[in-house]
């Protein structure tokens, strides 16, 4: 049971890292997510059902997501429409495309095929299957986290961060912001779709409606993570996103298990998730005010310590 929460949370955390890249690092409100997570699930499932390998299935999921993200960025660049609208357009179009990928079926079961999780269970026959799944997904998430952390320390990754902070600065540095957006939103949605591909294998089916409400859930995960600690280091930022994702899934699990006591049903979860995001925003705004106050205090102290320098 506990392992289940962690596996669920870790799969979800890959998506949260993807959303973190678009929403937080690039400051680009990208809703492609809801379509790309289902697209990743669809293509991975179809590939596995047709006897393809799991690695290729996951790579395909990443590529489809990256392509979807790229389309969003191109729409945003070429027609000068807000990222939000560009994302909604891609997401809506993806709904049809996903059904096409799945051969015009609303869902495809994966029960008869060997999935990623079956593979790791076979790898560790001496362990309970849930523990083996947990080990497998933990390794995948750690690998992704390491790659993302390293990427954002490279010059290219830093310029993506600069784009989120100040687009003019990126232009002044002689970098085409349009290419950066295609790349960043592409990587973001690639990870989201990869998460979808793993999710389909874990729950045993792909579904055209898989993405519904995912963006708000992902934001909830990010915000819960931001409660834990504040940092400007990318390795800690991705770490808290992963922890936030797991905590979110744990909260939802508790809601499903014990929610009946206070008459909460799974039907209420979308409402509760939204409320959770709003509460997070509220607390975060209070905290940023408090930290601004303490920063001011520190600045005054510093200026008292060393006069004669620039205040």
């Amino acid at each position: 049971m506990l392992e289940g929460i962690f596996v669920d949370g870790l799969i979800f955390s890959i998506m949260v890292i993807g959303i973190l890249i678009s929403f937080r690092v690039m400051d680009f409100a990208d809703l492609t997510c809801e379509g790309s997570v289902a697209a990743g699930a669809a293509i991975a499932t179809v590939h596995i059902v047709n006897g393809g390998s799991i690695i290729v299935a996951l790579l395909l999921a990443f590529l489809v997501g990256a392509l979807a993200g790229g389309v969003t960025a191109v729409i945003h660049n070429k027609f000068k429409i807000p990222g939000l609208l560009a994302g909604i357009l891609t997401m809506t179009m993806l709904y049809s495309i996903n059904l096409r990928i799945m051969g015009n079926r609303a869902n495809i079961p994966l029960l008869k095929s060997e999935t990623f999780f079956d593979k790791v269970e076979n790898l560790f026959p001496f362990l309970p299957s849930s523990v083996a799944s947990l080990i497998g997904i933990t390794l995948v998430v750690l690998l992704i986290k390491a790659v993302v952390d390293i990427f954002f320390r490279t010059d290219l990754g830093l310029s993506l961060g600069a784009l989120g902070g100040n687009e003019q600065m990126v232009i002044s540095q002689g970098i085409n912001p349009e290419y950066l957006k295609i790349m960043g939103i592409g990587v973001s949605n690639g990870l989201i779709a990869l998460s979808g591909g793993l999710l389909a294998q874990y729950q045993g089916f792909a579904d055209g409606n898989l993405g519904q409400g995912m963006i708000v859930q992902g934001l909830a995960g990010i915000m819960i993570g931001e409660f834990l600690f504040s940092s400007n280091r990318i390795s800690l930022i991705t770490l808290r996103a992963i922890l936030g994702a797991i905590i979110y899934k744990a909260l939802m699990f508790l809601g499903r298990k014990y929610g009946y006591i206070i008459h909460i049903t799974p039907n209420d979860f979308k409402l509760l998730t939204g409320v959770l995001v709003i509460i997070s925003l509220w607390v975060a705004s209070g905290r940023s005010k408090a930290s601004a106050r303490s920063a001011k205090k520190n600045a005054i102290q510093r200026s008292l310590d060393r006069t004669g320098e620039i205040k």
């Binding site: 490279t154 010059d155 989120g164 902070g165 100040n166 002689g174 620039i310 205040k311």
Partner: protein, 262 residues
């Protein structure tokens, strides 16, 4: 270095809001020249800068950098040659990143690679560079925590680091308090001299425009109405400048006098 031929910019052409911001302006800035641009609000100074840097498309005319026509070149490509500092201190730096990340991003122009350039050797180098602006101990602080003066000084440092050939300074000290404005201005002069840069600077401070630089341009209603350099510029005084302005305008300019602070 910069050759501008018959440059015209019309905003909102064909609408009731049509406005000619720049009218048939020609200007040739030689390498190594330091040009101060003065003029009242709405005279076209900022428009001229925005056209040179490529922020706005040109309505008519031609801009040439080092014998290369850049009139249609996008802003990010022209940025290879140009370093630009805005009046708004927040425009030159990324607030969500640390000082060292900002510096490393600014240390080279153009598309970045998957290389990790930030290492301890670079950090040491950055520390040295930051000493004149007193930020040497704050490499890992987010730029958002800095004051306007510190941010503008950092922007100046970053602009110089990326080795531009021309710098455009658009009233880059106007938003700062007098003390910080002086510090940033001193640094500006120092770096321009050190790197032998070609510079264009918009300022509202007439006294400064006279003392600083090798050439002075006055703009009014989208045209260059005065262009002095060399010995002639050295002999210029604020009173003389105001008188020239009055004669050229040939009218009382109580409004403009208020806008140009002496």
């Amino acid at each position: 270095m910069i050759e501008i031929n018959n440059l015209t910019k019309v905003f909102y052409p064909g609408t009731v809001n049509e406005k000619v911001a720049l009218e048939n302006v020609s200007l040739n800035v030689e390498a190594g020249e330091i040009v101060c641009v003065i003029g009242s609000n709405g005279s076209g100074k900022s428009t001229l800068f925005n056209l040179i840097s490529g922020s706005y498309p040109v309505t008519n005319g031609q801009i040439i950098f080092k014998d290369k026509d850049v009139t249609k070149m996008p802003e990010y490509k022209r940025a290879q040659y140009i370093g630009r500092i805005f009046q708004d201190p927040t425009k030159g730096t990324a607030a969500n990143m640390t000082i060292e990340d900002n510096l490393i991003t600014a240390s080279s122009k153009g598309w970045k690679s998957l290389k990790i350039s930030l290492n301890n050797a670079r950090r040491k180098e950055f520390k040295e560079l930051l000493i004149p602006i007193g930020l040497q101990e704050r490499l890992k602080d987010n730029v958002g925590l800095l004051s306007g003066g510190q941010r503008q000084a950092l922007t100046l440092l970053m602009t110089i680091m990326s080795n531009p050939e021309v710098i455009l300074l658009d009233e880059h000290t106007a938003a700062l308090d007098p003390r910080n404005a002086d510090i940033v201005m001193d640094l500006t002069q120092k770096y321009i001299a050190e790197k032998n840069l070609t510079a264009m600077m918009v300022t509202h401070n007439m006294k400064f425009a006279i003392e600083f630089g090798t050439r002075l341009i006055m703009m009014d209603e989208g045209k260059i109405i005065l262009d002095v350099k060399g010995e002639e510029k050295k002999r210029l005084t604020v009173e003389k400048l105001l008188e020239i302005f009055k004669n050229i305008k040939n009218e009382e300019f109580t409004n403009d006098e208020g806008l140009l602070n002496v």
